[in-house]
Symmetry: D2
Subunit: 311 residues, 4 copies
Amino acid sequence: MSTRFGYLGPEGTFTSMALDQWAPADGAERVAYGSVDAALAALRAGEVDGAMVPIENSVEGGVSATLDALASGEPLLVTGEVVVPITFVLAAPAGVSTADVRAVGTHSHAWAQVRGWMAATLPDAVYVPTLSTAAAAAALAAAPTEQGFQAAVCAPAAAPLHGLEVLASDIGDMQAAVTRFVLVARPGSLPAPSGADKTTVVLYQREDHAGGLLELLDQFAARGINMTRLESRPTKASMGSYCFSVDVEGHVRDERLGEALMGLRRICAEVRFLGSYARADGRAATVGPRASDADFTAARDWLGRIREGGS
Amino acid sequence: MSTRFGYLGPEGTFTSMALDQWAPADGAERVAYGSVDAALAALRAGEVDGAMVPIENSVEGGVSATLDALASGEPLLVTGEVVVPITFVLAAPAGVSTADVRAVGTHSHAWAQVRGWMAATLPDAVYVPTLSTAAAAAALAAAPTEQGFQAAVCAPAAAPLHGLEVLASDIGDMQAAVTRFVLVARPGSLPAPSGADKTTVVLYQREDHAGGLLELLDQFAARGINMTRLESRPTKASMGSYCFSVDVEGHVRDERLGEALMGLRRICAEVRFLGSYARADGRAATVGPRASDADFTAARDWLGRIREGGS
Amino acid sequence: MSTRFGYLGPEGTFTSMALDQWAPADGAERVAYGSVDAALAALRAGEVDGAMVPIENSVEGGVSATLDALASGEPLLVTGEVVVPITFVLAAPAGVSTADVRAVGTHSHAWAQVRGWMAATLPDAVYVPTLSTAAAAAALAAAPTEQGFQAAVCAPAAAPLHGLEVLASDIGDMQAAVTRFVLVARPGSLPAPSGADKTTVVLYQREDHAGGLLELLDQFAARGINMTRLESRPTKASMGSYCFSVDVEGHVRDERLGEALMGLRRICAEVRFLGSYARADGRAATVGPRASDADFTAARDWLGRIREGGS
Amino acid sequence: MSTRFGYLGPEGTFTSMALDQWAPADGAERVAYGSVDAALAALRAGEVDGAMVPIENSVEGGVSATLDALASGEPLLVTGEVVVPITFVLAAPAGVSTADVRAVGTHSHAWAQVRGWMAATLPDAVYVPTLSTAAAAAALAAAPTEQGFQAAVCAPAAAPLHGLEVLASDIGDMQAAVTRFVLVARPGSLPAPSGADKTTVVLYQREDHAGGLLELLDQFAARGINMTRLESRPTKASMGSYCFSVDVEGHVRDERLGEALMGLRRICAEVRFLGSYARADGRAATVGPRASDADFTAARDWLGRIREGGS
């Protein structure tokens, strides 16, 4: 059975590097899309079987777009995550040296991350914004003299892809920067618990906001569940109406998470389950004291006894 | 099958009036005990099949004794509660008039509740403490001239029981005072949910006090459960080591209570379940929004679906 | 200036031993009262300048009475606490040996604490309840043959006081039992902070119970304040209407306590401040992380800066 | 004194429309910047006196960039907000009719918001991504035949600016969409409280995450403060290290906010105050029960009394 994977393209972006790291996509067909929305629409339409999109701290943009696209419309499930170290190169066509660079093309987010290096190395270089880092490289390769810039700041993978030479590597001002990407699929089956999982949900408060956000978060806290990401997002309905996009440690099949999600289902207007999947870093979930599956099972056994008049 | 009921005696106390109100004890054998501890010890020993003891706001003492006796030792279950309006009479042997009363015998708690009336009506009367209100009446009846007091403050039931005449009725300073009593039994079976139930538990914190009392109470609050009584009680182990005696609305077989108790079982060093029983006042339990059994069942069904990859 | 101290008498009770331990009462006049209410009424009336009463885990009863008497009526302040180790002796008139003891007189709470020793040593002894442990000793001394019991269980201090001989010492089933007593005074001035203080307050919820007990306790928790005692007490108004009697660590002049009490004052129907006083055990208050006076002062300085547009 | 305002350009974007609505910028010099980072860097460098940037739900991107740029670097203050209704037009050079449109240029976020209209009206039109909605319009006006698209989706203001004709108005799929922009300035002075204010802060947790997010949010909740936006943002330090960007109702000079911020200052590693400013919608702050300035003042007066031994 052949499988097709969509992603936020073009080839050479950090998202395409994330897809390179995703083992199930090895040898599969890849389809680049111009936006997160387009990639997820294609997935919903059945054109692809999975889509790799940025979800956190991306240099290519797309985080809000991803959160919003997952939070509404036909249900989709996150089935995996990939973390990509973000490093930049300054790339140019053969024959161009650093001294020749008077203008640099790249995505505005990337430019923000190399500004220190640029100020020190090429203080007079003018910035020319492009749609993505890869687009800067591609344009420079296709028509070097028509871009208004002589070099591109892009992902390491983009330079060889477009036949550019690397003038300088690792020029990001911030060492250890990473972007988190998720592999999204249509509902159907869940990845089995791996022991090092994350679960993503979107929580819609009731109209009356009864209890508020604290009450929602407490459903996790009261079961020893660790939260790793939280964002309020305006719902499409009206300004001032919010939903909360949340990542927590653990798998929906863990007892503590099951109970927490049931609690949220009761008190929220809607809970959209976006998947349980293995963490990219393989770090086992932090489990609060007395919140293991064994603790839950022991408590349930005890409840059964006292409900029959025992002790 | 004959049934025997113990109670904090003697006959004529408010506790004996509580037992009068307890329908299952109609026509059963009654055994008076000199203390709450004695009554519960007899129950544990199988000498009686149930014991009526004061648990809240008693004029006869015994509240702490009751809480402590239930919180440790062989398990017992509260199977019902009775609320008795507390009214007092001034009673004396035939021939004694109010003008003859120079000293009044009663339990110190009762004296505290009639002090206003006494100050207004018999400002010069001396107070003589007795072991119980009924003991004051009994002693006066048995040997009127040897007690050092000419009248007793006691429960209305005690006067006719001991052949005393009522000099004044309803002499309590506080209208609408009541005392709450509980009927205690050995474990075995629970009263079925009545729709207007209370559940009593004793919670022992872990040594590390992790999370503290707030974490314990939150297990109820997070499931929309209303608490009606809370007392910290020193454990026998050492000063500064506490357990919490708690009444909440609802029955252990209610979904929300089952889940809360499982949560407490996990985080506490020990949870002692002391019973689910019909409230004396027949008032239906307050159920927090979205905390009904139907809400829990719907949430559990949804969880089952998403655990299989659905939505 | 002479000072008079009232206490829950008679002489020889554990409360009188507590007063023995209270240094400011050395050499002062002592007045015994028959009940906690009587002692506090005398204090309010100006007959005495202070009153020693039991507040926690007393063998003489009185805890509920104390809490209730402090929670209503003219304001009083707790200005100190004393912790008395609870040990019991079996005492009898000269010439009576253990073998002669067929019945034992004592307070019912004391009896509950020596039952194990009695069952092992004098399994056939009958229990005769008395108004207090000291009353048992006093009666036995005054009229040894008219009490229906040959020995008394009482505090160690009571035996020599009444000329009784000690047949057995330290007969309590529970080692390390203690009772906590408080010295109560009329308002006027507070003991200065000692670094090892407790503060006692009574909290009355608003009619609407908005937020409930959790909201009240959170005012302490949010400022890193440790709670050492909590009891819900029915208010005199009606059954089901509660107030909460609370001890916390720290002094009202501590920043964190001041802020917490202001918070409670805002959200409660009433806050009755019952005093800040040195702990009997001299243990310094547990202060939550970043909740010291220095932390508060630094935060206030910062607030002042940002309110003026700084950072 | 002349004033210069920077903004996320070019002219014709929604951000430029936000600046049009900002009264203090009437007649002032305007400077367009190619990115949020560039605009805020210019502000920090003193090139401009204020900068208008998108902060929530922008079609032009920039939200994460804005949050991150405010959360680190030299302190800046938000001094106002503007809410712009987001409506789109389809614009083309004179002489082009809807029937001629085979490709449409716009920013990917805008495309996502008109996809429904496009599918219904121009189902065969190809999407061509551009750097901004205004850039699509500008490019089309400058060189209509070299863009690969015949029409642009842009803000209503962009069409006349570039001499384009409007083929269709109000083509967004979502009625009532809005974007929120903020006016940012260097520290110095705060806008005075208007009665309808918002306050923005960034909260950095301590390394040990003691208490976690719930503890932080509770500092607001415990003082009756309503939160209107919350986002966890990775700190630049490392993946998995977060800060929280929060909007709450009220002004830093309100008592309840001052106390909450002091609490956060104590428990957080850092609190970055980003300003108190009038809400765009003029809606008065929701104040929790008993959380008005008068309530705080009354509580403080009471505290002063009890600290002196009063009641």
